[in-house]
Assembly symmetry: C2
Homo-oligomer: 199 residues x 2
C-alpha cells in the first residue's frame, strides 16, 4: 500500500461530508471497556501495523481466497441477472480493504473514524450497498455473514504478525488487540441493520 489513501476510489475516511455517527464518544468508550480494549491494545496495534504494512496483498489473497470459495460470501459480489462475480467490484473493494487493515492498526478512534465505520456499515446494508462502485450487484450483505467474518479476519492475521521475529508474547498481544479492534468495528457496522433504539 504505497498509494496515498486519498487516491483509493470510494475511500472516504476523514471526508467531512460523511454524516457523523450516532454513537457518542462516551458510548464508544463503553464499548471499548466491554471489549477490554485499552492503551496496551492501541500500542500493540501500532506495532502490528508496522509488521503487516508490506504484507497487505498477501493478507488480502488469503481473505479473497476464502470468500471466493464460499458461495454464500461470494454472493455479495455477483451481478444481478447474470449471477457472475463482478471483477471490477471485487478489485475496487480490495483496495479499500487493504487500506482498512492499516487503518485498523493506526487510526485513532475519534469522530472521523466513527463516521467512517458508520459508512462502512451502510455499504454492506441495503441502504448503501453498490452505490460507491456503481455496480448492479446483490443488494444486501446479511448481518450474520458480516459478523461471522470477524473470525476469519482474526484467525488468519496471526501468522502474518509472527513473520517478523516478534516474541510469542508480543504476537499474542498484537493478535488480541487486532481481534478486539475487528470485533469493535463489526459491531459498529451492525448499526444500520438494527431497529431505532435497539443498537
Amino acid at each position: 500500500m504505497t498509494a496515498s489513501a486519498t487516491t483509493i476510489p470510494g475511500y472516504c475516511y476523514g471526508d467531512p461530508a460523511l454524516p457523523p455517527s450516532a454513537l457518542t464518544p462516551g458510548e464508544l468508550a463503553e464499548l471499548e471497556a466491554s471489549l477490554l480494549f485499552g492503551p496496551d491494545d492501541v500500542a500493540a496495534l501500532r506495532k502490528a501495523g508496522a509488521i503487516v504494512a508490506d504484507r497487505i496483498e498477501a493478507i488480502l489473497d488469503v481473505w479473497y481466497g476464502f470468500v471466493a470459495a464460499q458461495p454464500h460470501l461470494l454472493a455479495a459480489f455477483r451481478e444481478n441477472g447474470t449471477g457472475e462475480p463482478i471483477g471490477a467490484y471485487l478489485a475496487a473493494v480490495r483496495q479499500r480493504f487493504g487500506q482498512w487493515i492499516l487503518d485498523t492498526c493506526n487510526a485513532p478512534h475519534d469522530a472521523a473514524w466513527l463516521a467512517w465505520q458508520e459508512e462502512i456499515g451502510r455499504r454492506h446494508h441495503r441502504s448503501g450497498k453498490n452505490r460507491t462502485d456503481g455496480v448492479d450487484a446483490a443488494p444486501h450483505v446479511p448481518l450474520r455473514h458480516l459478523l461471522a467474518l470477524v473470525m476469519l479476519i482474526s484467525l488468519t492475521m496471526r501468522p502474518f504478525l509472527a513473520e517478523k521475529g516478534a516474541s510469542a508474547e508480543e504476537v499474542d498481544a498484537m493478535h488480541m488487540a487486532w481481534t478486539k479492534a475487528v470485533l469493535l468495528q463489526a459491531i459498529l457496522w451492525a448499526r444500520p441493520y438494527v431497529r431505532a433504539g435497539e443498537f
Copy 2:
C-alpha cells in the same frame, strides 16, 4: 452444575413449545463455514466441557464481577424506578448462564438448539426481556453490548481451559473452538434486533 438442567427456572432448551428458528439447517451450515467451525471444533468443545464442568461457578464469578463493575452492563439488571440491581434476577440468570457454558460445549447444533438460541436472543431484546423472570428491569439490552461480550467470554475462558494439564496446543484448540461457538451464538442472538430480511 450437578442439578439437572430441567430444574433450572426459565431454562427452556429442548422445550417443544419454543417457536422454531427461522434459520434453516443450510443457513446454519453456511455460518459455521464462515466461522471455520468444523468437526475438530466439536471435539475440542467436548474436551473443554469436561475440563470446565466443575469450574462453572468460578467462571461465572469472573463474568459477574466484570458486569457488576461496568455500569452500562449492570444497567440491564436494574429495576425500573429504583435503579437498584435486582438480586433475584441476577441469580436466576446466573443459573441459566452456568448451564449455557456446558451447553456451548456439549449441545449439538440442531433445530432444538437453534430454537433455544432464538429464545435467548429474544430475552435480551425488548420483545422478550424480563418476562422469564417476571422482573421490572431495564426493557432492552442494546445489541452492541450483547455482541461485545463475546470478547470477555472468549478471553476469560482460556485460563480455565489450561487448569487441568492440557498441552498448550490443546488449550489453543479448545479456546479457538470455544470462541467460534460463542461468536456463532451471539450472531444468532442478534436476529430479533434486525429488520426482516436483513439478518
